[in-house]
């Protein structure tokens, strides 16, 4: 229930502030939100970032391009593959390398698996933010299957650094295809459980419908992308609009919402998981044979100039902007992280709602804090 927070005469003395974070169970990291409250109603919100700022962009200026990839993992650790992908694509485009078909297929599959894994964890955390603690364990349990598949092929579960400019570190494990197919068969059943325990729940629907509305115009103004932007009807799927990998060769729908409330944002991700499974199913049996990497020079030097590349990460449009002066490391590297833009909309959409709604809204925006601060 949205309350009018701007009565003609505003009594400042009735307001008080609470610090949500940097250490708080539902900020999912070290984000600090200073909320001004009137009773339980949020009148304004100030996000304070920088608690996990590691200077990744500055560190990139000292590293060579293959080394930069290892740093990108640490930004949005839940879509590590996709972060790797954006740098690889940029380098490949700048050097005009022909990436083998096999690599493109595997990268697309890995990206989509990452997206599912990220949404599973988000679903669990969102459930926990709403107070349904069982969800977290369900999400974690199913994510484990994807991580197992990653572990066999990439050698690690969270920060893979699996992509290299021109290809992959190693070829996929012989079990990979079987594992992924098993997972999809398994998860198609389990996602139904997700709907049973949370989506269809009356309390959850009552708490999310009509809460935290972001209109399409506001979404565009704030630069909100990803499932959050699409829930508002902003068609911003990079996979559709600027295809990379083999996304132009697979059939998938760009899921668009209309209302832009918390429930819609929730549904976007639930439907996206299903769509990602469709994409993987189309690709997993058709991975062409060939090399797992293109022939690359030992030292990669980008021709002097400016480059930009974008991909669709699990949270929205991830862009990387590079200024090269022809050396082996970039002169300047800037990441356009989806979470940072999404966070900017939080203050606007949570005004007039209760603290409990604020938690639900910030849960539905799906923040990964290291990606905000970098």
């Amino acid at each position: 229930m949205k309350e009018d927070i701007n009565p003609p005469v505003r009594n400042i003395e009735e307001e008080y502030h609470i610090n949500i974070g940097p250490q708080h169970p539902s900020t999912h990291g070290v984000l600090r939100l200073v909320a001004s409250l009137k009773g339980e109603t949020v009148t304004s919100l100030k996000p304070h970032c920088g608690y996990i700022h590691r200077g990744i962009e500055k560190m990139c200026e000292k590293d060579t391009y293959p080394q930069v990839i290892h740093l990108t993992d640490r930004m949005d650790y839940l879509s590590a593959h996709i972060n790797n992908h954006v740098v690889c694509l940029l380098v490949e485009k700048a050097l005009e390398v022909d990436v083998p078909e096999r690599v493109q297929y595997i990268r697309t599959i890995m990206d989509e698996l990452t997206r599912i894994a990220s949404h599973q964890l988000w679903w669990g955390c969102f459930g926990m933010d709403m107070g349904g603690q069982t969800c977290l364990l369900y999400g974690m349990r199913d994510r484990e299957k994807i991580l197992d598949a990653f572990e066999e092929s990439c050698g690690s579960r969270l920060l893979h650094s699996y992509y290299t400019p021109g290809g992959l570190m190693k070829d996929i494990h012989p079990n990979f295809q079987k594992k992924v197919k098993d997972f999809i068969k398994y998860f198609r059943k389990k996602i139904h459980d997700y709907d049973c325990i949370l989506t269809g729940n009356v309390i959850m629907q009552e708490r999310t419908k009509g809460v935290g509305i972001l209109t399409k115009e506001e979404a565009i103004d704030y630069g909100v992308t990803g499932p959050t932007g699409r829930a508002s009807g902003f068609s911003c799927d990079v996979r559709k609009r600027y295809p990379y990998g083999v996304y132009d060769r697979v059939g998938f729908k760009e899921i668009l919402g209309t209302k832009g409330d918390t429930f819609e944002r929730y549904m976007m991700r639930m439907l996206e998981m299903r769509e990602s499974m469709n994409i993987i199913e189309q690709l997993i049996d058709n991975i062409p044979a060939g090399d797992y990497t293109a022939k690359m020079k030992a030292v990669l030097k980008l021709p002097a100039g400016e480059y930009y590349q974008r991909v669709e990460s699990a949270r929205g449009e991830l862009g990387v902007y590079v200024v090269s002066d022809g050396n082996k490391s970039p002169y300047r590297m800037k990441f356009r992280s989806p979470n940072f833009s999404n966070l900017s909309a939080l203050d606007h959409i949570c005004r007039g709602f209760k603290i409990a709604d604020l938690i639900a809204i910030s849960g539905s925006l799906d923040f990964v804090i290291p990606d905000i601060d970098r």
Partner: protein
């Protein structure tokens, strides 16, 4: 002194007679009160420990986990280890806190739940005080706990605690109505407020079966309102881990936190045992008129086990609520009470009164 697990009346009357024969009436009363107090303390601690263990296991199984399984077989000693840890933990003094109220709050919560236990009939003859207004007493005493919660939130000089306490105050005051009215529905049916008489009245069938639909509705409303009274999920707004970190007991540590923690479980136990006593026959075995053989078999199970079985079944239902439902928002909680439960309850009482008046109940 003869002893039978089916009827403990002669047993405790024997003890009573023995004490009064050997001591002056004053000392006999003192000894009796001390004995009962001790027994309740031990029972209280044991039930709280068991419930915490049970909840950890129940929620683990609901969440595809194993739960505590390292300390002792099936982790049964985990709680004793936790208890020792909480006892030895430092009690952190809070700056600018109202020291007196801060220290008093956990005890008020404990005393409220402790007093409510006195009126519950555990088995035939196992009953500390048999008030003739037992239900009124329990409702009155159990609602005292909210004072402790409010004090805890107010005195700990923390905004999260304060918000949690205010939520809890608003919620418990509202749900108190539903608890009272749904119990009143049964009081109309039973014609008495005395717990022993209510249980005796269910000898030939539990009130949930005897009172037609109104009794079932009252039972459901009582379970919902009771869950809210015990501050359990989906009504755990006072704690609201994801919003208020730990709500009213954010600033408590060590044994004082343990008292709050224990109380949560004891309140749940009391809610469940009153529901079992009032609606499901308390220690009365399940009897179906006409099935003589079946009734005879049921009589073999001791009353205490009947009572515990029913109570823990309801406790399990309350746990099941918590681990499957998301939390409600404060305005929704109040809407649910004032716009739905209360009107339904009032109509329900009227229907029940009408049924009793016409003699349609069994």
């Amino acid at each position: 002194m003869d002893f039978s697990i089916y009827d403990l009346t002669s047993f405790d009357q024997g003890i009573d007679k023995c004490l009064y024969e050997n001591l002056t009436p004053f000392w006999a009363t003192v000894v009796e009160m001390t004995l009962i107090g001790l027994i309740f303390l031990i029972f209280y601690a044991l039930v709280a420990l068991f419930l915490i263990y049970a909840e950890r296991k129940v929620c683990a199984f609901m969440q595809n986990r194993v739960g505590p399984n390292r300390v002792g077989p099936y982790g049964i000693f985990q709680l004793i280890a936790d208890f020792i840890k909480l006892m030895l933990k430092e009690i952190i003094p809070i700056k600018n806190a109202d020291k007196f109220l801060f220290n008093l709050a956990p005890f008020i919560v404990v005393i409220a739940s402790f007093m409510a236990m006195a009126a519950i009939p555990f088995a035939k003859g196992l009953h500390a005080i048999d008030f003739d207004i037992g239900i009124l007493y329990v409702v009155a005493v159990s609602s005292m706990g909210v004072i402790g919660v409010l004090l805890a939130g107010w005195s700990s000089n923390n905004k999260y605690s304060l918000i949690g306490a205010m939520r809890s105050g608003a919620m418990i005051v509202s749900y108190e109505l539903s608890v009272g009215l749904s119990l009143l529905t049964v009081v109309i049916l039973a014609g008495t407020m005395q717990f022993s008489a209510i249980v005796e009245g269910q000898a030939n069938g539990w009130f949930i079966f005897k009172g037609h639909l109104p009794a079932v509705i009252a039972f459901i409303i009582y379970l919902i309102a009771g869950t809210a009274e015990a501050n359990r999920g989906p009504f755990d707004l006072a704690e609201a881990e994801s919003e208020l970190t730990a709500g009213y007991h954010t600033e408590y540590s060590g044994i004082k936190f343990a008292l709050f923690y224990m109380c949560e479980y004891m309140n749940m136990f009391i809610v469940a045992s009153i529901a079992a006593t009032v609606f499901l026959g308390g220690w009365m075995p399940l009897h179906i008129s006409g099935w003589e053989g079946f009734n005879h078999v049921m009589d073999f199970i001791p009353p205490f086990l009947w009572y515990l079985g029913k109570t823990f079944a309801l406790v399990w239902v309350i746990m099941w609520f918590k681990w499957t439902f998301p939390r409600l928002r404060i305005d929704q909680v109040l809407t649910l009470e004032w716009k739905y439960l209360l009107p339904i309850n009032l109509v329900n009482i009227l229907i029940m009164a009408f049924i009793v008046l016409m003699g349609w109940h069994f």
